[in-house]
């Protein structure tokens, strides 16, 4: 446990020296807090319609203006973060867990299983993600759960591939062979040796994956194929704004900024984390 605490402290100390990574972390934490406390911070109910104040620009009453139904854009943006947060949390953790399991099975299991799993991974990856998403939505109809399902299906191969490669690299190490010779079970080896070693690359991949997942959810909601109205999501705010672009630019400006901030924040944070945790870069005296 102390080891783990030391590792976290060491990572954080290294992160503090990297201004870009730290900026990323600050952006991410700020947006997380704004989203979590949306119910306290929002000046209005995000679903409250006010037809007398449609498409007005920023004012003291409505800091980011209102949309085509007179709903407060700031409140919708704050609540919209919840959808992005939910989708990325659920989709990334499920696909990471499934990718971990399948990747370990492919890397440590019999050869035939490896072949079958690799072909499955490659088949799923051969679909361009957005096209795959659109064809599924064509069948099931738009819903947030469908979006989460699509992201999980298309992300599993990415995690699975990485875990497989790392597991295979570990498998042939002398100390693993020694463990085996001493009678350690496969489950024991996977849990105590393979898992701790692939945790860091997985963590980096997950933090770099957030922008893609948030972008995917927003993209599908922008196309009218994600969350159903009137639920606010950054993508649906942009979709509403797009139709009334010539009347008021504010919904588009306000819906796009959090998307840009989140994707930048997580990318800068993820890149910095990679530089810190990637032992290869560290050994060569990379950034730190």
């Amino acid at each position: 446990m102390t080891n783990r605490a030391g590792f976290v402290r060491e990572t954080f100390t290294a992160l503090r020296k990297d201004s870009l990574g730290m900026t990323g972390l600050v952006i991410v934490v700020t947006i997380l807090l704004l989203t979590l406390f949306a119910s306290i911070l929002s000046p209005y109910d995000p679903l409250e319609v006010d037809v007398y104040n449609r498409l007005v620009g920023p004012s003291w009453q409505h800091w980011l203006g209102t949309d085509q139904l007179g709903r407060d854009v700031l409140s919708r943006v704050l609540y919209g973060g919840r959808v992005a947060l939910k989708v990325s949390l659920v989709a990334i953790s499920v696909s990471m867990a499934a990718g971990l399991l399948l990747g370990m099975m492919a890397g440590f299991g019999p050869k035939w299983l490896d072949r079958v799993l690799v072909i499955c991974f490659d088949t799923l990856r051969s679909f361009p993600t957005i096209m795959f998403a659109l064809s599924i939505v064509a069948l099931t109809g738009p819903s947030l759960n469908t979006v989460i399902g699509i992201i999980i299906i298309t992300s599993i191969p990415v995690y699975g591939r990485i875990v497989r490669t790392q597991t295979q690299a570990m498998r042939d190490n002398d100390f693993i062979l020694a463990e085996r010779a001493m009678g350690a079970s496969t489950a024991h080896i996977l849990r105590h040796h393979v898992l701790p070693n692939i945790a860091a690359p997985l963590l980096i991949l997950a933090s770099m994956d957030v922008p893609a997942v948030v972008g995917m959810e927003a993209g599908l909601s922008f196309l009218g194929l994600g969350v159903s109205a009137p639920t606010p999501s950054w993508g649906s705010i942009l979709n509403d704004g797009y139709s009334y672009l010539r009347n008021s630019p504010w919904p588009i400006i306000a819906g796009g900024i959090p998307l840009i901030l989140v994707t930048l924040g997580f990318t800068f944070f993820g890149e910095s984390l990679r530089d810190i945790l990637d032992p290869k870069l560290r050994g060569k005296g990379g950034k730190f």
Binding site: F127, A218, L245, R246
Partner: protein, 317 residues
């Protein structure tokens, strides 16, 4: 090498076959009757039966799949039940628009990305290098449809520098190019950053090599060394990913096409999805997936030609 290409090609074909069959099966096994969806709940049973027969939906799934591949082998992607036109005709009518957009985007990204990467490698740790590094990451991260929306908002609607919608008057190349600028920027911006990063990394590696040192020892001008000896090698990794870029962009073009109301495969698919026009969905996904798989294949083969180690690795996996 021929063995590698054959193996990799067969694998790509097999994967494509699996992907298309999976899509076909999904479309046909989903709950809900496609005839019902197409005709609405009030349609008479006779009308539904007739449509089902026309679409071949009254046959077992395997027969339908066999028929689908048989038609596909003859270049037939089925018939769009709404307009009664061949799906292949509709898809190939839209394909040139998407290809033009993708080529403009990738061309622009290469023209900007290579010098940007080259300069930041030569002026390492300078302000330009740091700015390029931050911008490259930023360009890659920001979703392309947000870029497209902001470009539309400012450059087309507010300042009216560029047209806001359409692909331009047919036959008028200048007008078409003018319509192409904003969608191509939205689509290619992420790739500028990606290419700049790639070129920077490989340029740094190449500049350390012996032949550069030798060229310097011979007293060649720095410009000649950079352009003729370093950059020529440093752009190779970029060339190999361009294939992959074209494949990825073909589907990524969808957002740019929708935001700028441009004709193209992406817009066709989006409209087909909204109207649940399954034959057109299947046709456009099939064409883009084929392009995607082929472009991955081509870039793998180019990579293996340039780097024999990959061929060896390919054998063992």
């Amino acid at each position: 090498m021929i063995r590698f290409i054959t193996r990799r090609g067969l694998l790509a074909l097999f994967i494509l076959f699996l992907a298309v069959s999976l899509l076909f099966a999904m479309i046909h096994m989903m709950p809900g009757d496609p005839a019902n969806v197409l005709l609405g709940p009030k349609a008479s049973p006779e009308l539904k039966a007739e449509l089902k027969q026309r679409m071949g939906l009254d046959q077992p799934l395997l027969v339908q799949l066999g028929r689908f591949y048989n038609d596909l082998a003859h270049g037939d992607l089925g018939i769009d039940v709404f307009s009664d036109r061949q799906v292949s005709e509709i898809v190939f009518e839209q394909l040139p628009y998407t290809l033009a957009l993708v080529l403009a985007a990738i061309g622009g990204a290469t023209l900007l990305g290579i010098p940007l990467g080259c300069f930041s490698a030569l002026r390492r740790n300078s302000l330009l290098d740091r700015l390029t590094a931050i911008m490259s990451v930023a360009f890659i991260a920001i979703p392309s449809f947000v870029v497209a929306l902001y470009l539309l908002l400012w450059l087309a609607v507010k300042w009216r520098w560029f047209p806001a919608m359409g692909a331009g008057e047919s036959g008028n190349i200048a007008d078409q190019a003018h319509h192409l600028v904003l969608p191509a920027v939205a689509l290619g911006l992420g790739w500028v950053g990606y290419i700049a990063r790639l070129v920077r990394a490989s340029m740094l590696e190449v500049m350390e090599e012996n032949h550069i040192r030798t060229a310097r020892a011979f007293g060649l001008p720095e410009r000649t060394i950079i352009v003729h000896y370093a950059l020529r090698i440093a752009v190779l990794p970029t060339v190999t990913i361009l294939g992959l870029g074209i494949g990825t962009m073909l589907s990524g073009a969808l957002f740019a096409e929708i935001v700028f109301s441009r004709p193209g495969i992406g817009k066709l698919l989006h409209e087909a999805v909204l109207s649940r026009n399954y034959p057109v969905v299947m046709g456009s996904v099939l064409v883009t997936t084929t392009f995607f798989v082929l472009s991955t294949l081509v870039s793998d083969i180019i990579n293996a030609t340039l780097d024999p180690r990959l061929r060896e690795r390919g054998k063992s996996s």
